[in-house]
Point group: C2
């Protein structure tokens, strides 16, 4: 099979042996695979794939058709449209995924949307619901609202009945983020628009002191991105006085049972909202597998709202 | 009535008008009232009483007998032995407390134990169970194990089936802390004894970087004391990689419904463990109300394991 691979920071398309599904696993004929920040870090040599995942082939999410079933795999039938988060290896013609990690693709979604859905909506749901326990009536602030997880979080927050604000550095994206339902705030001047019950931090440590100032009593900060810096000053007395909490979270290194549980939660809480048209996957651009290098360059260049997706 | 009062940082005993119970409130004839760190801060002029609580009379916990009932108060009868956390005013012959904040005193406890129980055991239970969600089989580290909350947390952690370690600065207290069931660790050298699932931070920000190092995957840090410093460096990437969380918490400024709810939880989860002899209130020393100044000095001097309690 053909697959994307990264050698000495160069993005190539190369031939690999076809993978074979083991017990409980499904062989998926990949039709679309979204790009994510972790792929960029892997390209820069900073972020090796988790143990047990393909080391040579990047890609953390995919959508495609069930091509073969391993022994004891019984959740899906041949030809079913499925999608999943995987530990790596998604950017390939074929991928093996444990059936407990797979979700059925809602009928309303085309392949690029399905290939760009799992990572950002699972991450956003895990951060907002499982970690921060966001409820209706609360005020949510998303730092980095124009990114993949940011756009998913804004839509999910709105769908759950929260009032949503978002900081967006790139002014060209302001109108599109506002169209998703968020009040767009200046990243250097958000404190006065608080207090916020939940702050989703996709930017990093420089926001930490102001986040704590802008947080409501019993507020929650969930940190899932630190591109602007990892270390910041935390005022524990302020945290105590607000009876607040700070979560850190990432999906990548979780064990199978955790990834399966998040998949069940997304099936239950999130996928019906695509069926009903409340949520959508913003896809900025699609590239053929052979043009993976151009896709990676487009992702790195940024400035576009929505996912970059490889299509096969 | 006679009561402790603090004027220009001096601890006095003085006469005040008897308080009158309002709707749903109970007049308690105070028999014992424990001292707490917040009283010391109030003495130093750093920590005003919460709004709605007596400003002149310190004291955050009390035990005593029901002397009179306000209109619609129906949970207790005259003469019942009760105890509570209050926003202030506990160090007095009489105190008015809302009946929803009161708990019945277990028959096995004498007055000094009952007067020194509510604050530390409610704080420890709230921090370990409500915030950190400690479970059996987990490893708990208590920083500041010789203090009031520390000794309560060690006992509660053991009773819940956790393995408990504690750091204790004062070497003279090591044997007593070990006797409560904790492995005593050097405060400067605890990381290598981890990982810990839950870390209860009673000392402050200087421990923050090492706490994060010593934390297990999906670990929780609950900060409820910052005597050694409030501001520290937090590595958000480490927090993400461990999928960990940091809680800040304090009881003092909570509204009635929150204090009532914590009282119900303590009644349900903690008080039966006094009845069965699993938990005890370590009382270091008792003082008469007239000797309150000496009690405050003894508390400030430290070095003793257990509560300082005023008895009336």
């Amino acid at each position: 099979m053909r697959a994307v691979t990264i050698r000495e920071q160069e993005v190539l398309t190369d031939e690999f042996p076809d993978p074979v599904p083991g017990a409980g696993e499904v062989l998926v004929r990949v039709r679309a695979a979204g790009l994510n920040g972790a792929d960029m870090m892997q390209r820069r040599g900073l972020y090796p794939a988790p143990a047990g995942s393909p080391q040579e082939i990047p890609g953390l999410e995919l959508a495609g058709e069930v091509q073969a079933l391993g022994p004891a795999a019984e959740r899906f039938n041949l030809g079913d449209r499925v999608m999943a988060i995987v530990g790596g290896g998604a950017q390939a013609e074929l991928a093996v995924v444990h059936e407990r990690q797979l979700m059925e693709v809602p009928a309303v979604l085309d392949w690029p949307a399905a290939g760009g859905l799992p990572e950002v909506f699972t991450t956003a749901h895990d951060a907002l619901v499982t970690q921060a326990e966001l409820t209706s009536g609360e005020r949510l602030l998303v730092h980095g609202g124009a990114g993949g997880v940011g756009t998913a979080a804004i839509q999910l927050g709105r769908a759950m009945g929260a009032g949503v604000s978002a900081t967006v550095r790139n002014r060209e994206c302001h109108a599109q983020v506002a169209a998703l339902g968020a009040t767009v705030l200046d990243p250097d001047d958000f404190v006065e628009h608080g207090p916020f019950d939940v702050i989703l931090e996709l930017v990093g440590a420089p926001n930490l002191p102001a986040n704590l100032q802008a947080l409501a009593s019993e507020g929650r900060i969930t940190v899932i991105g630190v591109s602007a810096g990892a270390k910041g000053e935390l005022n524990l007395l302020a945290l105590m006085a607000k009876r607040a909490r700070i979560h850190g979270s990432m999906l990548r290194h979780r064990p199978l049972e955790d990834k399966a549980l998040t998949a069940r939660r997304v099936e239950h809480d999130v996928l019906p909202l695509f069926e009903s048209g409340v949520l959508e996957v913003p896809v900025a651009q699609t590239f053929a597998l052979a043009d993976a290098a151009a896709a990676y360059d487009a992702f790195a260049a940024g400035g576009k709202l929505g996912k970059i997706v490889l299509t096969l």
